[in-house]
Symmetry: C2
Subunit: 144 residues, 2 copies
């Protein structure tokens, strides 16, 4: 399989694949003309890599998983280091989701308050008061 086909079947691009190779995540044999050649397992490997990337991993983070990615998924008996990194990434993801959910909740609350203020008073003076009530849970409180 040449690089273009691998790109197609993995939903990536030739450029990305060369990038992964340069990062040491995938390998390739070379044909006589210098073209990269891949076998079937490369497709699986690349899909796994991209899945990890999509999950917020960096290329560096993916490296420890290389042993597993060959076979079929990243569920092969992974090294302790791989597990550790996965958990770290998971924690980061959780924190990010948490932070964004908090932002969302604040925004929802602010919207509700704004609409209530709208219904109550037109000028916004009363609205500012209602708004201030939400301030405790608002971004200003998150000044860590």
């Amino acid at each position: 399989m040449l690089i273009g086909e691998l790109a197609r079947v993995t939903g990536s691009t030739a450029r990305a694949l060369r990038h992964y190779e340069q990062a040491g995540l995938i390998g390739s044999s070379r044909a006589a003309n210098g073209y990269r050649e891949y076998d079937e397992s490369a497709a699986v490997r690349v899909r796994n890599i991209r899945a990890l990337l999509a999950a917020g991993f960096t290329l560096e983070d993916v490296r420890p998983f290389l042993g597993c990615l060959d076979h079929d998924v990243l569920a092969a008996p992974p090294s302790a280091a791989a597990l550790r990194i996965a958990r770290e990434r998971l924690a980061v993801l959780e924190r990010r989701i948490e932070a964004q959910s908090a932002a969302r909740d604040r925004l929802v609350a602010a919207l509700a308050a704004a609409e209530k203020a709208r219904a109550g008073a037109g000028t916004g003076a009363a609205g500012a008061g209602a708004a201030r009530a939400g301030a405790g849970t608002g971004p200003a409180a998150a000044g860590s």
Copy 2:
């Protein structure tokens, strides 16, 4: 308040504040000597901005909230336009949270499968089988 003090009270840096200004997120009056001068509300505003950034917003994302950040929190004089933008942002937030939650779920599933495989078989042959079972929800399935 000069930029250094504002940086101190907001836990940021002068460099960052100039960056926000260049991005149009904060303003400043200038003293005769050209120094930036800020009033108290600037600190609140900056803290709000940083809170949003910490929540995964980009500077661009923050821009629509500017009207709210001035006063005290993100509850503004609820103009129809502001409400609309807020709702748009809310939708974007929801989508982002959704995407990241999906990534998290995949990662969790992969971890669970990995640990099951670990507990089940050491060599990897049987482990690969167990792994394959988890593959449906695992990264390999996320080849979009």
